[in-house]
Every structure is written in structure tokens, then in C-alpha cells.
Symmetry: C2
DNA sequence: ATCTGTTATTCACAAAGTGAGTATTCACAC
DNA sequence: GTGTGAATACTCACTTTGTGAATAACAGAT
């Protein structure tokens, strides 16, 4: 099955391109340095994603010839791309499983770009988590203790509760701290 | 990439077959009833897995003709299959992400089969989680606060801490309670 | 008449990303 | 001198796990 979008990869690339135009190879190196320990991304994947982004009009490219080396293809983010990135950035992640990498990536870009509004993002994410938590608690309560489904629901509940705690720490760190 | 095994599906089927021989259609219905709200499993997937299990000698089948309906193929677990299932059952899950479904499945089967040794499983799982937690804490500490990698490591740490709490609840519920 | 359930099987397809292969030229090591 | 690796770009076959539809054949319900 799917359902999962490869949103975060696209958005991460846009997030770097918003800082300055770059070519694919460079982009890949930057991503490796900044996010790489936790978020591996193959070179071919970067090139493929850039191609798609260009077809969608979210980035545009220009060739910059070099003596001796293959010409660089410098990618620049378009206004459309910038809008799409900022929209993504301020929107809480839709699924709990995206909290692990995609949400921290948002926090990272808020800081890297010096943007305002982290507090709102965190609040919205908290609200989304709390809603999910309530729904799961309701589902859980329909099963007896030690029932398999209940175990899984309770497991997920405890994970979300921990996330809510972690989000409070994030707020302390990201809202109104030193830059 | 993968790395993920489809272990749990195989083992779940074995776990039901250890209770009594069944045909695929029936097995599918049972799984749906018992685990289905949380763990969806297509019919074709069940048949495919049974076929593989048979090739590997972990189950064997016998046809049981019916008037009018297609003949049932009754699967029975073999000693090899039983050994493989029990081994799996007592082994803690190797990755944290398997805690969500695979581990509760183990608890479920301990109870459904009336087996001893849940306490040991839970202890081993706690130990595995604690080890993972320490490794992650060490990795986390190599990054400054608000660094992306650190955020993700800390996130994972908080998830594992919550799991350790959840495991304590599991122990209370599953060890030495009424059957 | 048609649909749904029983029972079994097969297969094309999906998604997402990896890794290898292809190109080219320079720099550096041995 | 020759090989290796870095810089730069691109393509593509393949992996994995599983879904959903198609196919078959017949019973009983509506």
C-alpha cells in the first residue's frame, strides 16, 4: 500500500534551495551534512526529485558551464515553489509516523531560515496529536484489557502522550530562545 | 530498501494453526476477527504466505473435498513450524518499530495458547529497549541542542522511554494475573 | 435473475528509493 | 605513467511488501 507521500524529500530540497540556488550534487552534499545521519538520501533520488520539481514548476534550472567538468545545472526555487514550501512548513504533519523525521525537519527549517511562527506550528501539532489521542482512546476503550487490538491502541496512545511531552520541550527550545 | 521481514504475518498464521488445523479462508476470517481492526491482511496475502510456509516445511496441507464447494485445503503445522513459531515467540523484537504490532502479537499468542514465559519475554524486550535507548542517547549527545539530528534522536529516546513505561503495564497485566 | 458467500489461486501493479552503470575530466597518490 | 577518487549529471532495473482484481465454480438468499 501507499498513502505515504514523498513530500518531505521534495520539501527538504526546496528548503535548501530557498537559502540559495544550488546544483544537485551540492544539494546532496548539504543534505548529507545537515540531515544525513538520520535521513539518508541517495544521489539519484535527489536528481530525480529535482527533475520532478522542475516539471511541476517549483524550481527552475540554468546551466552553468565549467571548464573541464560537466556543466552544473543550477536550480533556483520559483515563487510557486516558495509558496508550496512555506505552506508545507506551517502545516502540521498529518500522520503520527511523520513526527519522527518530517516534523523535526520543519523545526530545522524554521531555525535555518530564521522564520517566525514555530510556536503556532507546535500548537497546531499538539492539537492534532491530542485529537488523534482521543480518537485512539475511544477505540481502545471498546476492547477488554489484554485484547490484542487494545494493546496496540494503548501502545499508540502512550507513544502520542510521549510526543506531547516532547513537543513541550520543543516549544521551550524553539520559541523565544536565543537565535 | 527493505530489511523488514514479513515475519509477523507468517508467525501469526502459525500461531493460529498451532491451535488447530485450518484452511486458508477460515484462517483469514479468524485473523480478521481477532487482529483485524489493527492488522489488516488481504486474503491473497494469506494464501501466498501459506504456500511459502508449506514450501519451507513449516506447515503441511491435506485436501478435504466438499460437495459443491471447492475442496478445502486444510493446513496443519509441522514440528519444524512449531519450533520456529515458539522460537519467534520468545525472542524479543529486533527493532523498535516492531513494538507496535509484532510485540503485542506475541503477548496475544502467549495468552491465547496459555504459555508460560511472558515475563521473560517482557524482561528481554525491556533490556533490548534500554540498550537501544542508551545507544541513541550517546548519539544524541554528540549534537548541539536544536540540531536536526539531535531532535530526531531525542524524539526516538522519548518514544522508547514511553515504551518502557508501557512494558511495565504489560507486565502487570500479563504476568501472574487471572487467565 | 442476481448477488453474496465459500473456497482457492494467480498476477499485474503500486510506491519509494537504492545501487549500479554510463559519461567526462581533473587531481592526487604510488 | 597509471589507477583511484572526486566532481557533476542522468537513467534504469530491481527490490520489497502487499493490495485488488480477475478467474472458477456452485449454493443459497433476495
Amino acid at each position: 500500500m501507499g498513502g505515504r507521500q514523498r513530500l518531505p524529500l521534495e520539501q527538504a530540497l526546496l528548503g535548501f534551495l530557498i537559502q540559495r540556488p544550488m546544483h544537485g550534487y551540492d544539494l546532496h552534499r548539504r543534505v548529507q551534512e545537515e540531515l544525513g545521519e538520520v535521513w539518508y538520501m541517495g544521489l539519484s533520488n535527489v536528481y530525480g526529485t529535482l527533475k520532478r520539481l522542475e516539471e511541476e514548476g517549483r524550481v527552475e534550472s540554468a546551466l552553468s558551464p565549467q571548464e573541464s567538468r560537466p556543466p552544473r545545472k543550477i536550480y533556483r526555487i520559483t515563487p510557486t515553489g516558495e509558496r508550496s514550501f512555506l505552506e508545507w512548513l506551517h502545516r502540521p504533519v498529518p500522520a503520527i509516523r511523520d513526527m519522527r523525521v518530517e516534523f523535526p525537519a520543519k523545526l530545522y527549517f524554521f531555525r535555518a531560515l530564521g522564520l517566525e511562527g514555530v510556536g503556532e506550528l507546535i500548537s497546531a501539532q499538539e492539537a492534532a496529536c491530542r485529537e488523534r489521542l482521543e480518537r485512539l482512546e475511544r477505540k481502545s476503550s471498546r476492547h477488554g484489557p489484554r485484547d490484542f487490538n487494545r494493546l496496540v491502541f494503548d501502545f499508540r496512545c502512550c507513544q502520542i502522550e510521549a510526543i506531547l511531552g516532547w513537543l513541550r520541550v520543543c516549544r521551550e527550545q524553539f520559541v523565544g530562545g536565543e537565535p
